[in-house]
């Protein structure tokens, strides 16, 4: 089963984020980019599936910036191909619509039975990449997936719902799946293997030029979260606390 993993890079929240005063957008010059955590789970799920059923695992990403090391790491972990899509503005924090447009265009020329990606990312402002790609390629999509099992030309996928509810869904292939968590934590690959991959493996590049999207959601401004007024601690024994809560609820018109 040939699998393509879509990998998006997101700002690393270990660093303080800053807003560029002139554009009202994220200041990008000092931004550290890291692979979206759930995309790393998607890669792990793909590698586990490869272990079970064979096939080719290709990792596809955009030239968001400093992506090569992560691609070599993916190759060292066991991916067969690493493909970087180059195009205009890809390093300027493209919207998910644009990212999905780029992925979809490249996927038109690739052979695959399954597309895996993280179900969401910290910087999703306009939908999720998986769903947007599935829509463009007219493929079925299931998100919040925690397990994938191939069966008779189909796939059985486990999907998580809020409240501890789980579903088992039959999906026809090819399909796009948004991975919530791989069956195992993403594997660690020793540094020497990554270094070896840097010396012996190649990152393929596909030039896409300009990727237009019909649906671009304009971002008017971004702001860092502001801390609101502090919580009010209600002191006293249970009886006193209960009375104060009732008084507060009455004052605010929540109960009569």
């Amino acid at each position: 089963m040939d699998i393509v993993v879509l990998m998006k890079f997101v700002p690393d929240l270990v660093e303080d984020l800053e807003i560029d005063g002139s554009t009202g957008l994220l200041e990008r010059s000092f931004l550290r980019l890291i692979p979206n955590e759930l995309d790393e789970h998607a890669l792990e799920e793909a590698l586990l599936l490869k272990d079970r059923c064979g096939g080719v695992v290709s990792v596809l990403t955009l030239d968001f910036g400093d992506v090569d090391e992560a691609l070599f790491t993916a190759l060292a972990k066991g991916a067969d191909r690493a493909i970087k899509l180059t195009g205009e503005g890809f390093d300027q924090g493209p919207s998910n619509q644009r990212i999905a447009g780029a992925f979809s265009r490249a996927l038109g020329d690739l052979r695959f039975d399954l597309i895996l990606t993280g179900t969401q990312a910290v910087d999703d402002l306009d939908g999720f990449v998986g769903g947007l790609v599935a829509d463009r390629l007219e493929l079925p999509y299931v998100g919040y997936v925690t397990k994938v099992t191939p069966a008779d030309g189909e796939l059985i996928v486990h999907k998580e719902y809020p409240g501890g509810l789980n579903a088992e869904i039959e999906v026809t292939r090819p399909a796009v799946l948004g991975i919530q968590a791989a069956e195992k934590p993403p594997r660690y690959v020793v540094t020497s293997k990554v270094m070896e991959a840097m010396k012996t493996r190649k990152i393929e590049e596909i030039a896409l030029g300009e990727v237009a999207t019909e649906l671009e959601v304009p971002v008017a401004a971004m702001a860092l979260p502001e801390s609101g007024s502090h919580a009010q601690m209600i002191e006293g024994d249970a009886q006193q606390v209960a009375e104060k809560i009732v008084t507060l609820l009455r004052e605010r018109g929540i109960v009569a």
Partner: protein, 397 residues
Amino acid sequence: MSVATSYEFLDKVIRATPDGKQIRKCLQCGACSGVCPYGFAMDYPPRSLIAALRADDWHGVLESDTIWLCVSCFACASVCPSRIPLTRGLLATLKTEMLVGGSIPAELQAALGNSRRYGNALGESPKKRADWAKDFTVPVPVMATHKEPVEVLWFVGDYGSYHPRVQQVTRALAKVLYVLDVDFGILGPEENSDGDTQAFTGEWGLFELLARKNITAMNKYTFREILTADPHAYNALKHEYPRLGFVRPVKHHTQYLVEHFDRIRPLLQNRGPQRVTYHDPCYLGRANDNNIYDEPRQLLRAIPGLEFVEMSHNRALSICCGGGGGGMWLDGFSWEKAHTRTTEWRIKEALAVGADVLAVACPYETPRFEDAVKSTGNEGKLAVKDVVELLAESMFG
């Protein structure tokens, strides 16, 4: 890259380790396994491991995960009558095989991943590495902006830079250096983890990556010697960095301060009586025969009002705090396997000799022993302080 049989593995140990061929001389005496703090909980403590390898039970060795209990404390290597490099050779090489095979506890994976991505095991922002010195009472020059040669390049290390408790030790040392008018500078954001502990988890590739970054940074500047409060950094800079072509004099802060003893002594004041015992860090003492045992004791004994007492395990017999070899990042795993912590044994020893203060000299130890004081229900009965903190208290109150 990975080996397929016991014999291939033994061959790798012999080729990759200085004095590795000594492993052929194992007498099966078992001194190593007896002295190992976690030997009781390991499927293959060092003696059994060598026996299993000689019997070509490679599968059995790889099936067990208790090698991750090894805290690389050099207890086994220091008692081996055949002088087999057990810690750096046999045990660290087996850890490498485990890593290559993908058998790695999740907590350790996080620390190694952080080290690779951020240059520190704590996963903190590299840009904030010198933030401990911000708005501090004492000026701490960062080499990139200092633009001048210094006498002493201070290698602060991960925990000294980022860990809130260990930052207090770092600041105490900064104050002492300032009062002694030492011409020093730090690398700040250019500094990476020394890589020593990562190496002893078997991740030698990561060690080399980190070491090369540090070497590149240090080679940009002019200095006479390196100072560090971290025995792991001391050990790496002294014994491992030279293998990568970087040979510079390095001193642990207790060594450096003893050299300035004549100037320190008049500054020490009696701030009241205290009974102090000292825990020897593995990487100052046993590891690679570093043998720094007397300097910390000399400093402590000079503090007026301080009564020094020894614990039963001292000097080369010191019990590891459990932080080495990746133990710092394997607390959950080790507890699950062994249901005990070496730090807790140590706290009981310190209390048994009536100490008010357990003095230490390694950044892993202050937080680890403070936790153990609490987990043994002895909060308030024993303080844990770095030697330089005790000196600073005596100097500045």
